[in-house]
């Protein structure tokens, strides 16, 4: 086996106090063709200097609107993409520069659950093959035990273990997502990056899948990076939350602090956009923060603070000096020159 020649990730683990996963100044620039016939190449700054850490068994929510770099960050952590710069330290070892072959033992520890349960499963392979391939590739169980382990895994995620011989198209969306989860679980990972795992599902199914993830987290102590744009789901599931805007983390902190006392104007705007259920019961609607304009192009982001073009607090300093991600409250960091929690509660009610 090729993997035995390489040091196993466990052996390289430093003390247990060190974070399981530490991302430092992660940068991902995609080259794109510029305008015109001879237009040179431009860079899409999808992720531009993202840093965070994840401890064992912890759940970090990564939120932000479409195109802010959440998914790219998730794919970088799992090394489906090669970062332009920065470090991804997994159990003390920087996996950012590793080659495909050296990376293989880490693939076992870092798994992904994809957003789209329809396209992310190969329609030409049976569910048994899909889940079993991971087992065989990393020699998790002896060859003759693969099938029984696959059946166990299907049972863990709430599928009929007798259905291992079926193809993905014979399952519903929620069931397919369970297959995706079983596949990720098969290798007993330490970290699962869940890239909007429920956003493609019906609301009724979302709750079921979220409960399944919750159970798995408790049972196996897996750390999650949970990428979502549904703030309610994140609040339900995550210990800490990081808010991204245009390739950068603008605010990060414990869940309750982020939801109850958001420091960054963008976080406040994001939270105020959550549908207000109080209206139905006759509570007067709260004031909403309406952001004007579109998200600027990541090819040519604004100078200084990237949010300044849409921020109601913006002043001259915002255009010249980029605000660093600093601690504004205990364990809560925000990148804003004028960071402060809103005077009134901006969230009337969040479904949780």
């Amino acid at each position: 086996m090729t993997t035995t020649a390489l040091a196993s990730p466990q052996a390289e683990a430093v003390q247990s106090t060190a974070p399981l996963l530490e991302v430092k100044d992660l940068v991902m620039h995609f080259k794109v063709k510029g305008d015109g016939l001879l237009g040179g190449s431009a860079k899409v700054q999808a992720v531009d200097g993202v840093s965070f850490e994840l401890r064992e068994g912890e759940t970090l929510g990564l939120v932000g609107e479409s195109g802010c770099g959440k998914t790219t960050t998730g794919r970088l952590i799992t090394r489906l993409l090669v970062p332009t710069a920065g470090q991804i330290r997994f159990m003390g070892k920087d996996i950012a520069p590793l080659k495909e072959r050296e990376l293989r033992p880490y693939r076992r520890e870092l798994q992904l659950i994809f957003q789209d349960p329809y396209s992310s499963l190969n329609p030409r392979h049976t569910v048994g093959t899909i889940v079993g391939t991971a087992l065989r590739t990393h020699n998790i169980v002896p060859k003759d035990k693969v099938l029984s382990r696959v059946q166990e895994l299907l049972e863990v995620v709430g599928l009929n273990p007798e259905h291992y011989n079926r193809y993905p198209h014979e399952f519903s969306g929620g069931q397919r997502q369970r297959v995706g989860i079983a596949r990720a679980l098969a290798v007993q990972p330490k970290v699962i990056v869940a890239d909007e795992p429920v956003s493609a599902l019906d609301v009724s199914i979302q709750a079921q899948v979220m409960n399944l993830l919750e159970d798995l987290r408790k049972e196996f102590g897996i750390a999650f990076v949970f990428i979502a744009h549904d703030l309610g789901v994140v609040r339900h599931f995550c210990d800490r939350v990081a808010v991204m805007y245009l390739g950068k983390i603008v605010e990060m902190g414990p869940r309750n602090a982020i939801y109850e006392a958001p420091q960054h104007p963008y976080t406040q705007a994001l939270l105020s956009a959550v549908p207000d259920l109080g209206v139905v019961r006759g509570v007067p609607p709260r004031e909403r923060i309406r952001l004007v304009g579109d998200v600027p192009s990541p090819i040519n982001p604004p100078s200084g603070c990237r949010f300044r073009t849409r921020c109601w607090k913006a002043e001259e300093i915002c255009a010249t000096t980029e605000p660093p991600l600093e601690e504004k409250a205990p364990a809560q960091r925000a990148a804003c020159h004028f960071a402060e929690p809103p005077e009134l509660s901006i969230i009337a009610e969040l479904p949780s």
């Binding site: 489906l80 495909e100 990376l103 992310s120 190969n122 329609p123 391939t133 991971a134 590739t137």
Partner: protein, 327 residues
């Protein structure tokens, strides 16, 4: 599966029967003069009348047609020059210009064409799929551009030009000279004699197959489940072949089925230029001499090949893609 095969068989037979009627009416009702051609330039009216009687050109069309169909299934007799020839089923008629039953002519020519076509298919599928896969994997690089430009150039040159150049400068120079040796007599001689034709037909077709495979492969490698496969940590080779190529060959298989059917009815240029006595050459000869029974037979073979290949493609499809149900 069984009901599928039965249904397809019924439709296949009806397609072939329709082709038969269409080609029969086209050839036999057309203002051609087969008797005159058989009779030759120094023809006497008595001789012409005799030949016309033998050819039964004055019989009603229906009688002629039923006679032809009867010959296909039970055989029939032909009288020419006072000698009666027995033509046993499947009798495709009698070529008066060549003085032989058509079935025998076809039986001699078909193995040549099948040998050429299958041998070439081996070359172009191998080269085309390998080059297309490679090109898709290194998409956008110099190598990919060279492959794309090369295949475009090769498919822009008319095939007969490539074949002529190859017949003049490759066959008998670099590769063994082109000739037909039955495989049953001398397998090595068979392969050697056909090699030049295989390589020529193979390389030219490989250009198109490279392009089909490349396009289809780029699409399949962009699928989400390919990313899933990478995330599992399986080797890149397995990702490309087990997940990417398996999906990418489906459209290529469809094109291949149709191409093969077309070529089986006669690889005209290849056979003519390389001097191989296949179906294509037989057809060309028959055309220039109004040899209607031979033409009818080649049309029929073309129809059978097409219908058969379509059926095979559908079955292969269901193997490649489990979502396809045969019913």
């Amino acid at each position: 599966m069984l009901t599928f095969l039965l249904r397809r068989l019924v439709s296949a037979v009806s397609v072939i029967f329709l082709t038969l009627i269409a080609s029969f009416s086209l050839f036999y009702l057309a203002p051609t003069d087969p008797a005159g051609v058989v009779c030759g330039p120094r023809c006497t009216p008595q001789r012409l009348a005799e030949i016309e009687k033998t050819l039964r050109v004055h019989d009603p069309v229906i009688t002629q047609f039923t006679g032809y169909v009867k010959g296909l299934f039970v055989g029939r007799d032909y009288t020419t020059g006072g000698v009666t020839q027995e033509c046993s089923a499947p009798c495709l008629g009698y070529s008066f210009t060549l003085g032989q039953p058509v079935t025998k002519l076809i039986a001699n020519a078909l193995p040549v064409t099948v040998s050429i076509v299958l041998g070439a298919a081996f070359f172009y599928l191998l080269i085309g799929i390998m080059a297309g896969t490679l090109s898709a994997r290194v998409r956008g690089t110099m190598l990919d551009r060279v492959v794309v430009a090369g295949t475009l150039t090769l498919s822009s040159i008319p095939y007969f030009v490539v074949a002529l150049i190859s017949a003049l400068f490759v066959a008998g120079v670099i590769l063994p000279g082109s000739e037909w040796v039955p495989i049953t007599e001398n397998p090595l001689g068979w392969a050697g004699g056909l090699l030049a034709a295989w390589v020529t037909l193979g390389i030219v077709n490989a250009a198109s197959y490279t392009r089909y495979t490349r396009a289809s492969m780029i699409e399949s490698l962009g699928e989400d489940y390919v990313r899933t496969a990478r995330a599992k940590g399986i080797s890149e080779k397995r990702v490309v072949y087990r997940h990417g190529l398996r999906a990418a060959v489906t459209p290529v298989a469809t094109i291949f089925g149709l191409d093969l059917a077309g070529q089986l009815a006669g690889a005209v240029f290849t056979e003519t230029i390389f001097g191989l006595p296949g179906l294509g050459r037989l057809t060309i000869q028959a055309f220039s001499q109004y040899d209607l029974p031979v033409l009818m037979a080649t049309v029929l073979i073309g129809a059978v090949a097409l219908v058969t290949m379509n059926l095979i493609v559908d079955i292969v499809y269901s193997i490649l893609d489990p979502r396809v149900r045969l019913r």
